[in-house]
């Protein structure tokens, strides 16, 4: 508790801001495809996942406000200095980008939240645990589509491989937010290197099953 009484460390503020922004951007990007998904079922799933992410962002921005102090930069409507992954900056150009983001980027954020599950920062830990309840469904959707596209005709498989390659640097770079200070103060249970390993441990087996390159 002593930690929370002090001024919030800059690394924590950066982490919470980036979590909120990435949730927000994922939500917007998913929503952007809920009217264009290749099956009606996936259109519904995209809308549902978009709402999950937007809900998560809505719970994280108030935490950012508590940590960083009230300002236009802590409200999603007025914020301009977004810290979202490069691969989420533009709308997805095709369904393969949706699937790659769903599989790699959504999972990368999830791995970070898992590292905050037992955070010494109670408010973050609590939110992380609640958000994580909704993530297994996103993972199932992503895994299902990765396999479906990988098993498809060569052109589809190539497009997916390309989209995964484009999204990978964003996913791996994201873990830099797990700064050593955050591990030292038990706000996260692992640092960038370990989290990248956990992430690879999650995504590489299904990629291997589908005969795709590991990340």
């Amino acid at each position: 508790m002593a930690l929370e009484a002090d001024a919030a460390p800059a690394a924590l503020i950066r982490l919470v801001a980036a979590l909120a922004d990435n949730k927000y951007f994922l939500g917007r990007r998913y929503a952007g495809w809920c009217t264009s998904a290749p099956t009606l079922e996936s259109a519904v799933a995209s809308a549902a996942m978009a709402q999950d992410e937007i809900g998560h962002a809505r719970s994280l921005y108030p935490l950012l406000r508590d940590l960083a102090g009230d300002s236009p930069q802590t409200e999603p409507e007025t914020r301009t200095e977004f810290d979202a992954m490069p691969a989420l900056q533009e709308p997805f150009s095709g369904w393969e980008d949706f699937v790659a983001a769903n599989f790699l980027l959504d999972t990368a954020v999830t791995v970070m939240l898992e590292a905050a599950r037992t955070s010494s920062h109670q408010a973050l830990a609590q939110r992380a645990r609640r958000m994580l309840e909704e993530e297994p469904l996103h993972w199932l959707h992503a895994e299902g589509w990765v396999q479906r596209m990988a098993d498809g005709p060569p052109g589809m498989r190539r497009a997916l491989a390309g989209a995964l390659r484009r999204a990978t640097p964003s996913a791996l770079g994201w873990f830099d937010h797990a700064a050593p200070d955050l591990v030292a103060s038990s706000m996260l249970d692992a640092g960038a290197q370990d989290l990248r390993m956990r992430f690879r441990g999650r995504v590489n087996p299904p990629l291997a099953d589908s005969g795709l390159e590991p990340v």
Binding site: S42, V44, G144
Partner: protein, 58 residues
Amino acid sequence: MWEVFARRKFEEPLHHVGTVAADDERLAQVYARTIFNEFSWVEMVIFRRDSAVRIMES
């Protein structure tokens, strides 16, 4: 095709709430959960339609 069954209370029988199309079991789960979200169910299960053995039909 998958048949989706659910119930809101354990006291009531599972009943048919609809169908979803998916060639993958994982996707079928996601689709059933997100399409038939009108209630907070206590249980939801899916079956492949072609696994049904029809023993009576009028």
